[in-house]
Point group: C2
Chain length 492, copies 2
């Protein structure tokens, strides 16, 4: 009897009918320990008392105690009583483990599930999330969502075990073929499908290429002004960014003494200035890269939409020495949440990239999305979508150009510009301050970006980045009027 | 007349009716240059001759020449004749750019598109791609593909502009909530949704965490034997792997003099040995990590399927000091090509991980897949799928256990084992050689892996890794019979 004086009274929650007695007992005892109702060192009632209290066989109780001893929750031996383990620190006591119960939903999730089914289909009542002059955003309201949904449903209906199993590390083979075909035909890229790596977007291509070549402290030659997303990848890796000026022919090649480990550029249309790199400049850049034995990352960003001139062949297509890593993405031409892009690597780099990729992510995004995109390209929907969007964007660009000519002459000048979803514009009035203008415009619901935000060294002229693709012409015209009112005022 | 003596005869391909004359002329002239039919330095016919030859206005010809000069293909001035640029090296001549033409398909892609529409629905005629004893593979033929297809189609029909735009860098907010709920309830993880990062799988979680802590040359304490995929991430980063032995209680904590920068372990069930880390060992590991100020990567690999005992709370749930990074994946419990998993980071690491993530990939996988998974969890399909698969796998494990008991007693012993899709097994006969057996078994269409392949230091016993989840019981029984025949033979 003395043995039992320090034992505790055990009041366990009622057992559900579908749960076995043994499972219920181990689960609830474990919870009692973890939630602090059974303190470390405290003695449990004798098995016979527990058996009587809950109408269970003694064997059930003994088995439950043994399981909990094996797990470390209880200690003790037959005859000397069973105690809650002394090694359990107070730390443990706040943990709740209830493996048998169904998940309860958080308030946030309850709200989501309540509203998710009421969401309206695209293009009906959904407000456009963009204002003029938002940059880097396509006209999402014109994306053929229902066609994509059909292709997706059809692909899922045909899903095989092999589809569920996944794709090789470098991507779904038919998509790599379709991308290689597309790039050969429309971008002058020279490649086989084996050189195409399917990635989630240009950022992943950058991270992958940088990992191949850039160690902390290494010099990376970088367009100035240039794309911030790329800059951040190199900065994260501890690279030293060496700015390369951009003139009317595009980025100037790095000087020999820079000895960069990688050169980053956007030859199709320089970001953010918008101009294409001339053919002589491309050849000079390739020759310099060759003499430095330095690879080039060619970011083919937004090259799909050109409004004047004709595309020059990609740097990659001019390269005879396996120096160019060519990257593009479907996230801007289709929709940003797609997360599919491509990196074309030189033939002799395929094995290294494959090894690196297998380690980092094993597989790119979902196979079904890759398969749907393949079908979208192969069935000609991609080409049709590009043509349709090119017309729309040309009209939207026209509205911007006309608005600037009529209402902003003498105050703002669009930079020579050939392709993309946005254009650079120069402020002509003395004393102009692009960053101040960005803040003033925000108060009038006009989105602007200052070109200086993309510059490593201060630019000689004050300028803005103006997107025109995301919103209809009327919104662009409204924003032009607001901007004209702002620029008429004296600088304050 | 003398001016024209060195000019070349120009024979251009016929113009398609829908193409404007100017566009046709620039396109074909560019192709003539790029494909080497117009050599560098060669002089073009006079504009008036060309105009007469092709029935075009002289203005059209002049405009085309000006455009090609601007692009760098041609050079020269009015009156002195127009020549193909001298700076074009022979390198250029093999590049083909034909931006106006529709993509032609490669033979591989033609075969794919011809067969893709004939693919059979899952589970009817599709052969299972796996043989016993394939490890690390779930029973894909039992995945509810048509339900997933329905959810996916419904989600696409409801897609909004915001859905196309994408998710924050750390993942789709409702999925982060659903994962946090699930982990709190069933894994004893203590977290808020803000700590959950949606990733493509455990490999990405590893790469992300390693990037936070591991520099080349740093020590990483690593279970031995352990998961090869994790080992490769650390090796790629140039880490020094310090093996930690595994005994009956799980991995031993690192000694103080190792001073590791990160500790990698699989507490729920050690890979590849299969045992769970005891509660005292978990507490000792946390105490040691605390005194070393060293973070722990807890790989919760395959913890969803347990066949005996009850889950201990995750290390993460026992940690009071923000040391544990907890990672799991849906790719094994649902299907490998899904590419969705989670990393739970300590609250004070959220900002750093967010910064790192925004740079490396911007967004995780496709928003729609994340939304479909959210619905799958929230509507209870996930719980039902887990319960159904747990029953199936328990039966498949039973067939393996019974087969080993009846036919391999004295030759093979299954290791104590609680969870997962595969189990370790020890070879009992003196002189056994696991790697030789792997090769012999392959000839009998039996897939084996040697435990030594997962070891940093040679193991004291020869053992195998046997998967049982991917194939029906009959296939496992066949493979057990084959193995029994192999092990009865004298070692040769």
């Amino acid at each position: 009897m003395a043995r039992r004086t320090d034992s505790i009274a055990l009041v366990l929650p009622t057992r559900a009918p579908e749960e076995t007695a043994g499972r219920w007992l181990t689960r609830t005892l474990r919870a009692e320990v973890l939630e602090g109702r059974l303190r470390t060192g405290s003695r449990l009632p004798a098995t016979r008392d527990l058996a009587a209290q809950y109408g269970l066989s003694r064997g059930t109780i003994v088995n439950a105690f043994e399981e909990l001893k094996a797990e470390g929750y209880l200690q003790g031996a037959v005859g000397s009583g069973t105690r809650v383990s002394a090694v359990l620190p107070d730390d443990l006591l706040a943990v709740r483990v209830s493996p048998g119960t169904a998940p309860r939903q958080s308030p946030v999730l309850r709200r989501y599930t309540a509203t998710a089914r009421r969401a309206r289909p695209l293009g009906t009542l959904d407000p456009l999330p963009a204002r003029a002059f938002r940059a880097n955003q396509p006209a999402l309201d014109l994306f053929p969502t229902s066609l994509w949904a059909q292709l997706s449903a059809r692909r899922w209906r045909r899903a095989s075990v092999a589809d569920l199993l996944g794709t090789p590390a470098l991507g779904f083979a038919p998509l790599r073929e379709a991308v290689a075909d597309y790039l050969r035909q429309s971008r002058g890229v020279r490649c086989q499908a084996e050189q195409v790596v399917i990635v989630s977007g240009v950022q992943e291509s950058l991270a992958l290429t940088a990992q191949l070549f850039v160690e902390p402290g290494d010099a990376v030659a970088f367009e100035d002004p240039g794309y911030l997303g790329a800059r951040r990848v190199f900065e994260t890796l501890g690279a030293r960014l060496c700015p390369l000026s951009v003139d009317a022919e595009g980025m100037r090649p790095p000087s020999r003494r820079l000895a960069p480990r990688l050169i980053y550029c956007t030859p199709a249309h320089q970001f953010p200035l918008g101009l294409a790199m001339s053919l002589p400049r491309r050849l000079a850049l390739l020759a310099r890269a060759r003499s430095l034995a330095c690879p080039i990352f060619e970011d083919d960003y937004d090259s799909e939409y050109r409004y004047s001139g004709r595309p020059l062949p990609a740097l990659q297509g001019l390269d005879q020495h396996g120096l160019v890593y060519f990257a593009g993405s479907f996230n801007k031409v289709l929709f940003p949440s797609l997360r599919l892009g491509y990196l074309v690597v030189p033939p002799d780099a395929v094995d290294r990239v494959h090894a690196l990729r297998s380690v980092a992510v094993r597989q790119p995004t979902s196979l079904v999305e890759q398969a749907v995109l393949t079908e979208f390209i192969v069935a000609g929907h991609f080409g049709r979508h590009l043509r349709r969007m090119r017309e729309t964007y040309a009209q939207r660009l026209g509205a911007l150009q006309e608005g600037v000519r009529r209402q902003l002459a003498g105050a703002l000048e669009l930079s020579p510009f050939e392709a993309g979803l946005q254009t650079a514009a120069w402020l002509l009035q003395p004393g102009s301050d692009a960053r101040r203008l960005v803040h003033q415009a925000a108060a009038r619901r006009v989105e602007l970006e200052a070109l200086d935000d993309y510059a490593l060294r201060p630019l000689e002229r004050q300028g803005l980045l103006l997107g025109f693709a995301a919103v209809p012409e009327a919104e662009t015209r409204r924003a032009v009027r607001e901007l004209a009112r702002l620029l008429e005022r004296e600088p304050d």
